[in-house]
Subunit: 149 residues, 3 copies
């Protein structure tokens, strides 16, 4: 079976955010699948998605600092500058991190490692609400009577 | 239903290229799907695929400049040097950006954000024609009479 | 049909490793599929997976050197430092390279380019055994009598 829906993440300022719960509370359908695959695409080119540590917030703080060093603002050789000093670095960071993630589904839940969570990587100083396309494909859990739930 | 085919992108010199139309004109089958997922794998280790801004070409120019700064040629510590000074950086860039992309399909079209397009990232000075494997899985659009198109 | 299983990669010290054979010998089911898609997720945030050159080991050596330059240890601005100097860089490298890969299946085998292989990117100095979730979806090869194998 296929499930596809568009969901929103609330607007945030620049930084890395753990959004696993904000995503999952919009996807109760996952509980019905015994096995499957979920893809989430962020429909923007100045924010991205990645999977990383879900525990200590200092990791997300350091992500923001490291990516700002890797792709600094205001370099003299940048030509795409008219949308703000954060814009071109946002595009580069978006492709370094990626626009979509794939997560397996097992017995009605995401099958992530115990320390893994979903990060929204907001690369604009003042991001807007971000739109995601969630596409899930999988098999329904069979009930005890052999009928799909 | 599954669709899988190998398509080619024409040879290009080093740089980042918007290839959404060159890809889509080879994939008329997408129009038949109501919901699904498309994966494109580039079968090379010195070129890559990413999703980014489809509007101003200056973004692609800046991508080329930024990735050359991130992964410069001719570093003294490189050991894999016999295939040319662009070769080892090409491999690194390929893994930073990724060998494949996933894009959802909705009502017969790719479901990308309005500013998103597909980039071919050619990391060799003189790339050859690049071979892609396109794998699509999804549900056919039903016609008004309830029969699959 | 869907196939999902968890497999292990043996423990390794920090570096980039070609693991195509170690993965494939645990996945004989691929031979039964005519067309499909395989996703492999690594259930850790300090190791990653990528696709790159399967030939000269010097490429993997240079990957280790380049990623150590891109994300150096012991930077004064790091705050997530209590798990060892290799830990925060490991998280960053993991997101730069990615936690999962997708590879198409064609006629019973992975459809990779001739020079492509699967890399385990071990970012900790002394990594443990790494757990992967492999999720495969595809169509079974039909036998000559028209029955699925």
């Amino acid at each position: 079976m296929w499930i596809q829906k568009e969901i929103q993440l609330k607007a945030r300022t620049r930084g890395f955010y753990l959004v696993t719960e904000e995503v999952l509370k919009q996807l109760p359908e996952i509980a019905d699948l015994s096995i499957g695959m979920m893809n989430i695409l962020i429909k923007h080119t100045s924010a991205s998605l990645t999977i990383n540590e879900n525990a200590d917030p200092s990791v997300r703080d350091d992500f923001e600092a490291v990516f700002n060093k890797l792709v600094p603002e205001n370099q003299s050789y940048y030509t795409h500058t008219y949308e703000g000093s954060d814009d071109l670095p946002a595009h580069i960071k978006s492709s370094l991190l990626g626009s979509s993630i794939n997560i397996p589904i097992t017995q009605g839940a995401l099958n992530l490692g115990i320390w893994q969570g979903i990060y929204l990587c907001e690369h604009r100083n003042h991001g807007t609400s971000r739109e995601l396309v969630v596409t899930i494909n999988g098999e329904k859990i069979l009930m005890n009577d052999g009928v799909s739930s």
